[in-house]
Symmetry: C2
Subunit: 453 residues, 2 copies
């Protein structure tokens, strides 16, 4: 029987060391979309595992390397820990109050790109393991770390890695990359993630830009063609118009709707935090309907638009080139490659054969059953660490390669960590609350300890 009070004390006593190590990790840029600092960050993560006695291997892929680390434990069971060392681009830089790669502590928070997503969670796992080993002399279970470097660019090479190394990665359960509390400070257990299909749509109508006075009424305009093509994808009522898009999308179950109904309402918090001047879409004002729409509806989001002159003032140019970044969030049982094929067909049939689609990555949606014993164990650990009843969220709006792991390795996934709604992941001033970090580590230690019991 593990003395979790002693574990908690160790975690508190060694907080400064954990934060220092986190600071070192955040200070190392690792922007997967731009290929910046990737090798250096992978080496740093490998070093952090080796220092703890893990057997580490760094696996090259067609993209960024995957760091794998393994350490023995007391019980015969094996726990897989999935995380990622890559981060989102920090732009727009001018909106950061402190530089994104100079981790800064102020007002009980640590700020920096990746401090929550996902480097804080790597440290959360390591601090929990450190405390368990210090108190009990060993790890309660065999531990396998799978830490990739392309999560923020849709994990293009994780799927083949997991398939090709299924024996190496074999485990009985998995703690997923993130977790934490909701806007009320209650721990949240996430049981599913939407999938994603991320594409760039590009049109090139000429070899070079023209004077808009010359070509305005006789030359094709790449920006106009992009606008018209995008307009065929979704109507103003948010209905996606690609034929067959919704075919495989399953409606939420009665059990899903029960869990959604039991979730607290954070709509007012969202309105204020994001400054949503026009409120939510479709006149929604909150409650279970909003929460259902948030996660059980697949989406088509324009993430970026670029064409022609974008500087100050006016330039009378007719653009030869235009492009859009578009992501589709998918729900069970939609499949990114199926959506990609339907998108191509839809554009062709609408006369947009000249729109080039670049597939920038995709993952399938994935879910774990609330009735799995490992989920129940994680909920019990949360009750103890947080002292309140956890919130169970059947599906999260975001995406990750959870299906790659849960389906291929046939393991249940749970979440735990230092996230919270104000973390500003993917946005300027990303941060964690240090008190949340402490509790997240305690929760993680209890999951691992109880799993070995």
């Amino acid at each position: 029987m593990i003395d979790f009070k002693a574990v908690d004390r160790y975690i508190e006593d060694h907080l400064q060391e954990s934060l220092a190590e986190l600071g070192r990790l955040v200070a190392q840029p690792s922007i997967s979309a731009q290929g910046l600092g990737i090798q250096e960050c992978a080496a740093l993560v490998a070093e952090m595992l080796r220092q703890r006695g893990f057997t580490v291997s760094v696996h090259e892929t067609a993209g960024h390397p995957i760091v794998y680390g393994e350490a023995p434990g007391n019980a015969a069971k094996t726990l897989l820990l999935y995380n990622h060392y890559d981060v989102q681009p920090p732009e727009p830089l001018e909106l950061w109050d402190s530089p994104p790669f100079e981790p800064t502590i102020r007002d009980g928070k640590m700020y920096g790109r990746g401090v929550s997503d996902d480097k804080g969670h790597i440290l959360c796992r390591l601090a929990a393991l450190d405390a368990l080993k210090a108190v009990t002399g060993s790890y309660p279970v065999k531990v396998k770390f799978l830490i990739e470097g392309e999560e923020e660019t849709s994990s293009a090479n994780l799927d083949s890695f997991v398939r090709n190394n299924a024996a190496l990665l074999a485990a009985d359960a998995c703690i997923w990359e993130f977790g934490g509390v909701n806007h009320e400070g209650r721990p949240v257990q996430y049981l599913g993630l939407r999938g994603i299909c991320y594409v760039e749509l590009t049109i090139e109508t000429a070899a070079m830009d023209a004077h808009s006075g010359l070509g305005g009424s006789i030359f094709p305009n790449a920006a106009w063609r992009l606008v018209w093509a995008l307009n065929t994808l979704k109507d103003r009522n948010e209905r996606i118009l690609i034929p067959g898009f919704y075919d495989k999308a399953l409606p939420p179950t009665a059990r899903d709707l029960e869990m959604i109904a039991a979730q607290p309402d954070d709509s007012a918090d969202m309105i204020e935090r994001y400054g949503l001047k026009q409120g939510f879409l479709k006149g929604m004002i909150g409650g279970p309907d909003l929460r259902r729409e948030e996660v059980f509806v697949p989406t088509c989001t324009i993430c970026g638009l670029t064409s022609g002159y974008q500087g100050p003032g006016s330039k009378t140019v007719l653009p030869a080139r235009a492009s859009a970044k578009v992501d589709f969030r998918l729900i069970p049982d939609q499949d990114p490659e199926d959506i990609l094929a339907k998108l191509r067909r839809h554009l062709d049939l609408n006369g947009f054969w000249d729109v080039q689609i670049t597939y920038l990555g995709g993952t399938q949606p994935g879910r774990t059953s609330v009735d799995d014993p490992f989920v129940q164990l994680t909920l019990e650990a949360a009750r103890e660490a947080y002292g309140v009843e956890p919130v169970v969220v059947p599906m999260v709006g975001g995406s990750g390669p959870n299906a790659v792991v849960s389906k291929t390795l046939n393991v249940p996934l749970v979440t735990a960590g230092c996230g919270y709604p104000g973390a500003q992941v993917h946005a300027p001033n990303e941060n964690i609350v240090i008190d949340h970090f402490i509790t997240g580590v305690k929760h993680t230690a209890r999951i691992i300890g109880k799993f070995g019991a």
Copy 2:
């Protein structure tokens, strides 16, 4: 009677001095859209006039200064010369073969931003005046230079300057900013310019960007709203959908269509020069129909689009802000302020009250009659200087503040100069052919000389 052979000889003998002076002017950046080098360039132009004995004044405006210069002549008549010292932004820089503000001569051409539009034409006027004075001892007519610094940003302050200084600027005729030859090397006489209404459309849906997984199905997306708003402006058949847009647009007259029919066909040249992979709009393949469409149809051109993430790879962001630069090219008797009001009303009625319109400038369309004696004199001068019959173009696709001058001062406008279809104005590798420059100066000298006769 002026000895034009002696004038021509002087022009040829002093070519290197003219090109050196042009090089000095091009080397001085003067990007009106970005406010770069404006004061310095205005001072340089003023100095160039003062050195020639002009009485010069530099007039501050709400935007960039206007340079005015005046010199006496033999005849009682007064000739106004309109030019502009500002240039378009040079971006994209990587497509220039030599730096845009380091004028370079190679293969009989001079390259640099503004070398054609419009600094080459300033030198064309000056070299013609220098030659006339050297040969005859004085200027044939009183000369007034009006050289503004905001032509490339829709001449926002020219209209009020001309209205407030109508007596100062009073003249009997005007040579407009540009001119030159067509793709066959034949001189072209332009008799009209379309107007323009240039706007930036901006939407802001939230105080900050969100994670696309969080907000994709519940937050308004600025990029989507921009796409939908733009889509209401023009359909895929190029029909502009703003109610009343075409109300004041006059069809070309029978005389216009005659002139258009007499113009040579440069469609194959355009296809090749711009690399138009899909040819012209609406399946047009050239001939008088294409030329009519090119200039006698008003347009709505997206000049730029910007929103969200535009870097390499993928970023899963839901943009809070999106904007488009849009220009409308107008034909007689459309009016930019009328179009602006109709655009606002159209967006409001379509539910896009959240689209902010920033009016970045506009000019009215303007025309001079082919039967005006000054036009006939200019055509005669062209026959002599070029040795071939000039092409008369009733309307040009581009815009400029010609109506501001022609209507307010009640003067006929003609064109002459060193332009040609390969000049790449507003694009990388802007250039003039030096042989064209020589003939353009000779033509200009003949217009001025004959006007004083």
